[in-house]
């Protein structure tokens, strides 16, 4: 039988300034699946996302992160990106003077270079930009603006998903992509993400709220609390959390 594991995390521990934030995470995500990770503030959700993407600020102690069976431990953030890891940031950074288009060209061609490929031909690049921006209902003018500079919260998030569409990652992690979005923007972003779902990639959606999961329906839902996954289930778990909050899980975890 073909092993279709996209991401496998085994007993992952991570800390910053000697403070342990992730305390033994186990997670397996197969190609074609969407997993949601929920949990209260400070439970370690964003840390998990950043550790997978290779943020060097965190000290990874025990444990492994495997992408298609390959250990990512020694790889830099850019090498992970070249292997197909993508993180949609909760707070995207502003880069004045570098347009969205030029930023995407640089990102895509750097990845191609790492794979021993030539730069993407200009017409192909333009076609792709046009196609993906239309999919996300992004105005052409928007693409010549400086990356994230003066963007509204919603524009920043939509731009993150546009980048995801352009980079076509194997594993996409969406960190609080729903925060700061009104209902229309949420729908557009979610539709975009759904169009990018395929049997060959996997998506991890990190969110506080069940709302996003009405649009991006997950195959599995995990609850992260105090640096550990304390409960896993199907999409019904998200509804249960919406109704009952997190306190019952905190109590359960304390026992």
């Amino acid at each position: 039988m073909k092993n279709n594991s996209m991401l496998e995390i085994k007993n992952l521990h991570a800390s910053v300034d000697d403070k342990e934030i992730l305390k033994g995470i186990d997670l397996k995500v197969n190609a074609g699946e969407v997993h949601a990770i929920m949990g209260p503030n400070g439970s370690g959700k964003s840390t998990l996302a950043e550790v997978i993407a290779g943020q060097e600020e965190f000290e990874v102690g025990e444990g492994n992160i495997l992408l298609e069976g390959e250990d990512l431990e020694e790889l830099s953030p850019e090498e992970r990106a070249h292997k197909g890891v993508f993180l949609s940031f909760q707070y995207p950074v502003e880069i004045p003077g570098v347009s969205v288009t030029n930023f995407m060209k640089t990102a895509i061609n750097e990845s191609r270079k790492a794979q021993g490929l030539e730069d993407m031909p200009a017409n192909e690049m333009l076609k792709k930009i046009r196609e993906k921006s239309e999919m996300l209902e992004i105005d052409r003018k928007f693409l010549s603006r400086s990356l994230n500079e003066g963007f509204s919260g919603g524009e920043k998030k939509r731009n993150e998903i546009f980048q995801m569409a352009m980079m076509e990652p194997k594993l996409a992690i969406l960190d609080e992509t729903d925060s700061g979005l009104d209902i229309d923007a949420l729908r557009i972003v979610a539709n975009g993400v759904n169009k990018l779902r395929s049997k060959d990639n996997a998506i991890i959606v990190i969110t506080h709220y069940q709302r996003l999961l009405e649009y991006i329906v997950p195959d599995f839902v995990h609850v992260l609390y105090n640096g550990k996954i304390v409960k896993s289930g199907t999409k019904e778990l998200a509804l249960e959390l919406e109704e009952k909050g997190y306190d019952w899980l905190k109590e359960e975890a304390a026992v």
Binding site: G54, E56, E57, R80, P92, E94, G97, V98, D119, M167
Partner: protein, 438 residues
């Protein structure tokens, strides 16, 4: 013999070759007296606290080049902004090169100081403007005035605008083991005139060069002057640039200074506002490494009401490089409604690099808007992670962030080819290929 003594004795020889009845002669003699009294500035002078000229004074500089050298255009083409058509005033070891230059007298005068000094048709302009904005007190300016003989002369009459930008290029061939250069430029844009100027000093070898330059710029009513200084010289070339700008009512003068290479760079940039509704802009990008040193001393003197000034200096310092920003703003009592803005941001890339940043505000009017800000920091780690997570390697990510940091200054460059050139110099310096024009 130290450099000061050598200069004093050279002055006598210099005078022998000149017309002693010329009205400028007295200016030269007085200037020499001032330099003789004061000598080179030392670290005891408050304005020179962080920049030492002691090392340069120990070098045995030739004051006048012994050889005359001709250069082939193809060998120096890369130092020109050759992508666009321009007027060119080119000096090789301080001597005018007619072969490399393209001057004009067609409606505007774009030529040489030596011509302006000697020909009667320019005498009136020289009498009205020469040495009228430059300091008679500052010793290095006096030293330049004493030896003033050659440089760029640009005169744009009322309502005129040259057909194309002007490049002033000072090349040092290295035919002297060590050469001191003292170019003297005079730029006059009369009422409602407009001009764009690019200036560059370039040494062609690793031989020592010390340039002590003075530029006077006069902007008439409603005139617009854009002046770009490209400082990307060899690590054995030092530059003291003294620029004095005198502005009349509603004029706009913008000076951009790109300090990207050299051993020691000192910029004394002085703006005097002599009318209402004047706009003065001073912007700079500094990117240095090794043991390079740059010192930006700016002065904006608001002497009339309702004027503006905008200063924005960005500095990136790597290795053991050192920087100074000293921004002085004077607002006279009469200069109500002045709007003076000053910003100096710095990034230190290494533990050994230093920046000393000092705003100096002397405000005597009570209804003014003056703001100043200074930051010193490192490259934003979060931003680095963001770029790297998009597959952009560390070196390229760093370069992108530096571009972004310097962007405010770069985006106000009004000659696109020059902007592209500066970007290329920066990219080459950082050893990256950006794959697009920023």
């Amino acid at each position: 013999m130290d450099l000061k003594e050598k200069l004093v004795s050279s002055f006598m020889a210099f005078e022998d070759g000149l017309d002693l009845d010329h009205p400028v002669h007295e200016e030269r003699s007085n200037a020499m007296k001032n330099f003789e009294t004061k000598g080179f500035p030392t670290k005891k002078d408050e304005a020179w606290k962080y920049t030492s000229l002691r090392g340069l004074q120990k070098v045995d500089f030739s004051i006048f080049p012994k050889h005359e050298t001709t250069l082939e255009y193809k060998d120096v083409k890369k130092y020109f902004l050759h992508e666009i058509d321009t007027y060119k005033i080119v000096f090789v070891d301080g001597v005018y090169s007619s072969y490399l230059s393209e001057t004009t007298h067609d409606g505007v005068d774009i030529c040489l100081m030596s011509s302006a000094f000697s020909k009667p048709m320019f005498q009136q302009v020289i009498e009205v403007y020469f040495n009228k904005a430059a300091s008679k007190d500052e010793s290095l300016t006096s030293l330049n005035t004493a030896f003033s003989k050659e440089g760029a002369y640009i005169y744009i009459p009322k309502n005129k605008m040259p057909k194309k930008p002007i490049q002033i290029l000072h090349l040092a061939t290295g035919n002297e083991a060590a050469l001191m250069l003292q170019p003297r430029n005079l730029i006059v844009a009369e009422d409602n005139a407009e001009v764009q100027i690019i200036e560059r000093h370039q040494s062609l070898t690793g031989n020592e060069v010390f340039t002590n330059s003075v530029t006077e710029i006069f902007a008439g009513k409603d005139a617009i002057v854009d002046y770009y200084k490209v400082q990307n010289d060899e690590p054995t070339a030092s530059l003291v640039d003294n620029t004095y700008i005198s502005q009349k009512r509603s004029s706009v003068v913008r000076v951009h200074t790109f300090s990207l290479g050299g051993k020691l760079i000192r910029n004394n940039l002085n703006f005097y506002q002599n009318g209402e509704r004047i706009d003065s802009t001073l912007k700079g990008v500094t990117i240095l490494g090794d043991k390079q040193h740059v010192d930006h001393h700016t002065l904006v003197h608001h002497a009339q009401p309702n004027c503006e000034s905008h200063q924005d200096y960005k500095g990136i310092f790597g290795d053991s490089s050192t920087g100074v920003f000293n921004g002085k703003i004077i607002v006279d009592k009469i200069a109500q409604k002045t709007d003076a803005f000053q910003q100096n941001n710095n990034i230190l890339l290494s533990d050994r690099s230093t920046i000393n940043s000092k705003p100096q505000l002397e405000i005597f009017a009570d209804d003014v808007k003056c703001s100043h800000g200074c930051t010193i920091g490192q490259l934003d780690e979060e931003a680095m992670f963001y770029l790297r997570s998009r597959g952009i390697p560390k070196k390229e990510a760093k370069a992108l962030l530096m571009y972004a940091f310097a962007n405010n200054v770069l985006e106000s460059v009004r000659i696109p080819e020059l902007k592209a050139r500066i970007n290329k110099i920066i990219a080459d310096k950082l050893g990256v290929r950006m794959g697009f024009d920023l």
